[in-house]
Symmetry: C2
Subunit: 607 residues, 2 copies
Amino acid sequence: IFGSILGVSAGFVLGKEGPMVHTGACIANLLGQGGSRKYHLTCNWLRYFKNDRDRRDLITCGCAAGVAAAFRAPVGGVLFALEEAASWWRSALLWRAFFTTAVVAVVLRTLIEFCRSGKCGLFGQGGLIMFDLSSTVATYSSPDLLAIILLGIIGGIFGGLFNFLLDKILRIYSIINERGAPSKILLTIIVSVITSMCSYGLPWLASCTQCPEDAVEQCPTVGRSGNYKNFQCPPGYYNGMASLFFNTNDDAIRNLFSTGTATEYHMSSLFIFFVAIYCLGLVTYGIAVPSGLFIPVILAGATYGRIVGTLLGSISSLDPGLFALLGAASFLGGTMRMTVSVCVILLELTNDLQMLPLVMLVLLISKTIADSFNKGVYDQIVVMKGLPYMEAHAEPYMRHLVAGDVVTGPLITFSGVEKVGDIVTALRITGHNGFPVVDEPPLTEVPELVGLVIRSHLLVLLKGKMFMKEPVKMSGSFVMERFGAFDFAKAGSGKGLKIEDLHFTDEEMQMYVDLHAIANTSPYTVVETMSLAKAALLFRELGLRHLLVVPKTPYVRVLTLSLTIYIMCVCVFFFSRVMHFLTHYNMILYQPFPLWIVPFICKGVHR
Amino acid sequence: IFGSILGVSAGFVLGKEGPMVHTGACIANLLGQGGSRKYHLTCNWLRYFKNDRDRRDLITCGCAAGVAAAFRAPVGGVLFALEEAASWWRSALLWRAFFTTAVVAVVLRTLIEFCRSGKCGLFGQGGLIMFDLSSTVATYSSPDLLAIILLGIIGGIFGGLFNFLLDKILRIYSIINERGAPSKILLTIIVSVITSMCSYGLPWLASCTQCPEDAVEQCPTVGRSGNYKNFQCPPGYYNGMASLFFNTNDDAIRNLFSTGTATEYHMSSLFIFFVAIYCLGLVTYGIAVPSGLFIPVILAGATYGRIVGTLLGSISSLDPGLFALLGAASFLGGTMRMTVSVCVILLELTNDLQMLPLVMLVLLISKTIADSFNKGVYDQIVVMKGLPYMEAHAEPYMRHLVAGDVVTGPLITFSGVEKVGDIVTALRITGHNGFPVVDEPPLTEVPELVGLVIRSHLLVLLKGKMFMKEPVKMSGSFVMERFGAFDFAKAGSGKGLKIEDLHFTDEEMQMYVDLHAIANTSPYTVVETMSLAKAALLFRELGLRHLLVVPKTPYVRVLTLSLTIYIMCVCVFFFSRVMHFLTHYNMILYQPFPLWIVPFICKGVHR
């Protein structure tokens, strides 16, 4: 939070929406872990979130709240969470996210109302709509459409180029940042100096412009924000480039979007500003400052749109301010590759419903163009960070493999009543999160799959030390008498039991423990001849962590995809390729898979 | 299309958006079937839609296009399709639906522009935003919020009551309608007469009001639409109730939403109009006229909101026109139970982004209140029509059952190389769409599940008459040489091969056919001890039609849920309860399940 405030205040070309999404997700994660017992910030009812599904849902809602607060766009926030953040969705979640953002909107609105008198600096200004364009009446004809299609195509190319260059720069930065704190700080200082030099140096290149006659009162601007900055010009004159540089990013966007000001900026000023912002946006993202990409992309896109609008002024009657909006849309489509959510966010930012068809058109064109070059910027970052992410669709090569093909070893299984020593050894020597349980003779006639036990439940059971001298099956209720449901609740990250914390005597190690009561007796299974593509789809669509592979022939098998848990701030992605497999006997087991979102782990990822 | 045009023109209290959604879905289905060969409306590339998934996607897009056209709300259309219509969603579909509605928006916009000169009656009026409220500046404080919460609560109760009464009335109507065409027509005539009596009779009850001084020019209104209808009043006076009744429904809504007209309607007029519209909306839906529910609900809700706004005028400073908007939102939330899509549709209808937080609040409150009484109106209709619909979540009782518990018989299986006569008999005596294929000795050492063949593929294979004298396994490529991929493409509804169309000689019936090449060797399977709730979730989340149940113990099993294919106009729902099961040997097989949407079958369902 503080990093973001200081970064934005320092005048970096970066957005505040990335850190705000991150903040929202972090708060949600904190609540999902049941609060913090260390700082006495906990509530008894928070324990209901102590399971994977509700915690994920909560974090998705937190992400939606972050977007909603950053753009003052409640519906856009829900859609962003749907389109970009969540890899799994259900109608109850839609409704909860909507509730969250409604609360955000009401709170924001109340605070803005409270601050309208100017007590809170710039906060109270603009109301819920940051760049209000609703007063403009836009009519457009066929030449306008042609101009807009051209705008979308070039915007898509610039967006794709942005992603390409950002990828290269982030790769260089990651090498620099790995060298330690001094390198990080030096890099930040260099970018900071370059930004300052651009902001202060470039306006010297622009010539002074006479104030328009109808705006003599506000020109040149006095104060922190406004359209006309004086900057070394004589009274009655303003410097166009300074008006763009010497404002907050939000105000610069507002200036670019403003209509009826076609001659406000020199072509040369706009062009220099565009190049500067495009490059500064690229070099700023990835330094050791919490940053988002939305604002730089909108800013560069709006400048680009205004340039195109001014150039095409002869064939199109649309205002350059509206072209700026469409230019911003084309850049967003070209870099983020989102459609519905960007469209709604832009709508909520500008309140300009008349332009909706054009915004949709531009988004579609630029996304299509950019998709032919490379992937969306968030996908690229996930790939670059090496975070394991499973695409929603199966990779083509998977169609030629079956689930049995990816089976490898060694895999550890337990029998329904297992020796304590064997369990402890298995937990110590492996990092697996799930183990199949197979009843073997003499407990049953033939080997039979009981289900799956997960590491954390095993640890709780071991800690209870309900051991037996002989390998006999107990009744399930016996375990339930000893343990409550909340004993097995998912602990906060880094807080669960560890095998290193448990100690057993030699005698205990020789005893037996019944796993039937804690085994999940309904694990999802696939037959070994199942196409890997379909198994991957099952895995992804149902949000599984473990998938058992059973044989066509009598013997039971289980498959593990031991995917390193990786995370990206809000959304979590899993690489289907980063798999390593284990087998033992003839069993395999998919392992710790869709742990969607663990915002606290992703300190290094800025968005 | 014509029914809807005539119904709306006749002045019924019904919406045009239901039939438009239906129309969109029908056109999409027509294209998805590859056009109509009978009417020479076909294209070669349409054959790429001849599979289930693309056809479903296309119909979802058609539904989105219908909503987008009805409300001139492109983003709302996408969200409606997401929230209400589609039971299965993927990101590519989101993007396609968005593309469809963008095209709709551009076409609509072009047509409106073309019609602006008045050549097309009322069509060109209002532009893309039907009820423009953007000019009003709304500020609200705590008492307003209290008033709005009250509005939401009562709106939710009225919405729930609407659903309850509609359910009862539709049950009575379905009895009447079953008696044949004369009863249907008589019912329609009666409703028509009642509507006419209300429209013409009720305004006599209202007294004349003097025209406001600032609106002398437009008062009383001359022409088809307007705020002030003269109706038997002296010049300079208008009849408030006539202004509501003697307009199109759209204009009545516009009048109710209009701000700065707090004293335009008498309280008594509003009250009578509310009761009349509430009741007429209930009795009109379900008669033999294509009708939607959105407009009647918005109309009743807006009137209700205006009444509340006028009553609470002393404690709230909000304009009654804005209260009308919130009232409409509360009724929509109370009946439809959608959140995001209704919110965006209202936003796109009114262009009033300032009110967004309040609209969200009201929607949430009324939905929550109404949810405690009954289900959403569409869900109710699905239940009433007896359409089999599977909820996205498993029913609680399923948690206590395992997949094996719902296994029943008889089930028919084929071996990998099966006698033609056995296949023909099986296809003739059952209506099953899928049959498991099990290789048995001597083909393999132990019985082994090969996969699943579906009826239509079997019929194609049988028609090709590639039979053998001896039961030997052929190479797969042999079949592929005889048949192209498009031979197995899904035919249009009612156009596929039927077993009755195929004839075989006695000699052929004694021959064998190899099913290996056409069997789906990767059917999704569950173990018989899998919890039924999890099996149902698998079925629903992956959009399956068939799910095989395999035993823990060596013997292979398959489970069929023989669900009658049912459809609801656009969305398709499946009852998890309407299941009947078949078994044979020890196998079961889930049958024809998520055939989402077949609009042509649902003549009787109006929306």
